[in-house]
Symmetry: C2
Subunit: 336 residues, 2 copies
């Protein structure tokens, strides 16, 4: 060991074990052949010294990091949290490490781009991006350098692979369910495209389908979750709609809170539906009616798609579209 306080290196271990540093490297990297005798000498010397391998130096030298970068918009939400966990699980299964960058509610576009660039600087071999905010062109630039897979939101750019759910199918199916239960006039919350691509498209699908079915739609456009009270109050004043379809579970919860504040019962007086099907709102104790996205499947497939590109063969870009399932809860009641 060196005199100073720095942690021991393979050279220190080699000296103590009486072998060359190459042997220590072989023991730890698992490449090349080592006799049982040498291996145990190295291992005991390492244990005595308290040696731990320097993964950075290793990948610096081998120019392989065995690491995937995951960016999620906000890990504290169940949607992205679930995606993050499945991805890191799957990556671990196939022998990759994961470096995670997460934003938060207050994160803006520049922050997200910076976080993404950080990941690239850390020499990740591939990038998994989960965010509705980043624009396609921003991603294309980065995808030129590092293989990139977008998960959880549609992406049609040629050079970017993506795995996502069919928002139109989901929105229409959920609208079917609401109409089936007898609702003839429905308020649909429709965020703008600048707020979220996924939410606006699923909400548009809901409205379109309802109209097709002859249901009257009260559209509320560009509504933000913080001020959902106003639209809800107006809905109650005009008194027409028997149901509110929100573009996400989170929005549905906000609507339910606003209704409750006015003494309106869900679903006896007004029905409410969400979208995403995230925990814990799917619990029977709450019973939110929603459209469940197969997030585990999305996460798993996104990792696999990225790996396929990394391991060579895979075509430049492929787009996998998954379907979800109806989560029929208690917040949408039958009307007569």
């Amino acid at each position: 060991m060196r005199g100073d306080g720095r942690p021991p290196t393979i050279i220190d271990v080699a000296a103590r074990a009486g072998v060359s540093k190459s042997m220590v490297s072989r023991v730890y990297s698992g490449r090349g052949s080592v006799s049982a005798d040498t291996r145990s000498k190295v291992l005991t010397a390492a244990a005595e010294l308290g040696y731990v391998r320097n993964a950075m130096a290793a990948s610096m030298s081998s120019t392989r990091t065995n690491t995937l970068g995951v960016f999620v918009r906000d890990a504290s939400t169940p949607f992205y949290g679930r995606l993050l966990v499945t991805m890191s699980e799957r990556a671990a299964e196939v022998g990759y490490r994961v470096v995670v960058a997460t934003g938060s509610g207050t994160f803006d576009l520049d922050d997200e781009l910076r976080a993404l660039d950080h990941l690239v600087e850390m020499q990740v071999e591939g990038l998994l991006v989960c965010s509705g905010l980043l624009s396609s062109s921003d991603l294309v630039i980065r995808a030129a350098r590092t293989p990139l897979v977008v998960a959880g939101r549609p992406e049609t750019a040629e050079t970017v692979t993506s795995v996502y759910c069919d928002e139109v199918h989901g929105g229409r199916s959920l609208a079917d369910h609401v109409a089936d239960l007898g609702h003839r006039r429905v308020t649909v919350l429709q965020p703008g495209e600048h707020q979220s691509l996924t939410m606006s498209s699923r909400a548009r699908a809901m409205a379109d389908r309802l109209l097709e079915l002859g249901v009257t739609v009260d559209p509320v456009r560009d509504v933000r979750i913080e001020d959902v009270q106003g639209p809800v109050d107006r809905l109650l004043e005009s008194g027409g709609s028997t149901a509110v379809m929100a573009p996400s579970d989170r929005d549905a919860l906000a609507v339910m809170a606003a209704l409750r504040r006015r003494g309106v019962r869900v679903p006896e007086d007004v029905s409410v539906s969400g979208y995403d099907g995230v925990a814990p709102l799917d619990s029977p104790a709450i019973g939110l009616t929603s459209w469940a996205q197969p997030l585990r499947e999305v996460g798993r497939r996104a990792v696999d798609a990225l790996l396929a590109r990394l391991d060579g063969g895979a075509p430049a870009a492929q787009h996998q579209v998954l379907l979800g399932t109806l989560q029929a809860g208690r917040t949408v009641a039958r009307v007569h």
Copy 2:
């Protein structure tokens, strides 16, 4: 640029800009002085080449990574998710990067230890650990090499710094609330210490306080969240308790689901309380009565405590204990 397909390095940039590699390094690391002219020459050359800095090589050479490692037990839960996001936010504020490792529901102790060791191998300068599973002695060993802060669970070891909430205060206060509302017989779900240190101690505090107040306690020990139906059924048969206190919001939700399955209304027939105060159950739409832990504060302070140790001065180990606040919802009703 080199002939092969490898990404450009500072040497390539230097050649193109007509300066030495030292200059390029200075421009990107911000250390040392560079004339405005040289800086712009370097920057344009870099842009033309599509150069991105290799963060690994940089920290390899400087033996400083500017990176903190965060381990959370399961990022998909709101509790750990919140902790993770606040920590990464705070770290970003003070100029550190974060490498995250997350387990999942199926993660066992060995997996957690491996994940922790991975983080250390990646040369993080400090470790933030959020998990009720890891034993104190496992952590002490790792803390010897890398400064380590435990967040969200009590830790009394000498060499480990910790930031956590006072479980006894919280448990007792919540018990006070339930007793105040007139409940004279209460079922308390008490997990074993091997399941979770925090949950078992808060549950014990609840039971103790209720007994002090002359309330009859029906203890249910070592209950697991999957089979909460049995205890709930027995409670209904014996018919004594007017309230169930669960050791977490998640457990409370499971109890509510089990009650509903038997046609029992909450809170009209039986009251239920949780613990943690996590989103989205704190929404007025749901109104779960709980004890809210100041997770943002825990996360922020944990990062700051770690930084204090890194920047030298801080004492070997300090333990910060925070208090929570009552989240009075609607799931615990007044009884007469």
